[in-house]
Subunit: 113 residues, 2 copies
DNA sequence: CTTGTATATGCCTTGTGCGGCATATTAGGG
DNA sequence: CCCTAATATGCCGCACAAGGCATATACAAG
């Protein structure tokens, strides 16, 4: 499980990352907001930390986790060559995203019919 | 294996997508360039097709595969919120990418041409 | 030192993705 | 028709990630 792509393949990990995108969080806060068990959160955070997606600092008994950008940038870099390609097919995406509309785990999109 | 993220977690599939980014290819061409066995290529193409990453047209006994943009755009959309975040940490990426230097998905680093 | 809170880790089970290999299918040519 | 090229599919075994649950560690406070 070394590559950044494998790391973000896991939905719960993506949810954690999205959470941290707004601000740093403790394990317990993540646990509550995403309704995962504590060991599960800790394990995912370990994976994320070892892959360089997050770092933590100690605050008494808590650990505060925050994002580190590099691995996600790496994904972004890989994605770059494809962008020029899909400039042609613009409109198709919105239909596509509408159609699935289950996109991000912890995020409810306002779905208009 | 429904999400776009799981699909691109597989290195061989990323390699195939990168190949197709330049131009459409037949199964045999992919097989040769990426040095994978034919069933492996076909299976990955099946996964990619069912997930909407590629489409194929028939050319005699060949199938020509080409990219479809939507699923990758979906990844791009998920990535968007993080971009504003990493504008702060610019320089760190290059050091990071240097350090791993396994960039291109092809298995062999020996560049035969 | 004991207790309580926050987090990490270890073990076990289950599910599933991936490759290898053999074989089926489809299409064209002689 | 039969043969061959190109691609797809089925079956099998293996590796491994993910969650559940129990427990260990860390730190604070009384």
């Amino acid at each position: 499980m070394e590559s950044a792509f494998e790391i973000i393949a896991e939905p719960n990990r993506r949810a954690i990352l999205s959470l941290l995108a707004s601000s740093e969080q403790s394990v317990g806060e993540i646990e509550r907001q995403l309704r995962m068990t504590q060991p599960t959160v800790s394990k995912h955070l370990r994976v994320l930390r070892e892959a360089g997606f997050v770092e933590s600092t100690v605050d008494a008994q808590r650990r505060l986790y925050r994002l580190k950008p590099e691995p996600l940038q790496e994904v972004d870099v890989w994605l770059a060559p494809f962008r020029r390609f899909w400039s042609a097919h613009v409109d198709a995406l919105e239909r596509h995203l509408d159609r699935m509309d289950q996109s991000t785990p912890a995020k409810r999109k306002t779905r208009r019919r």
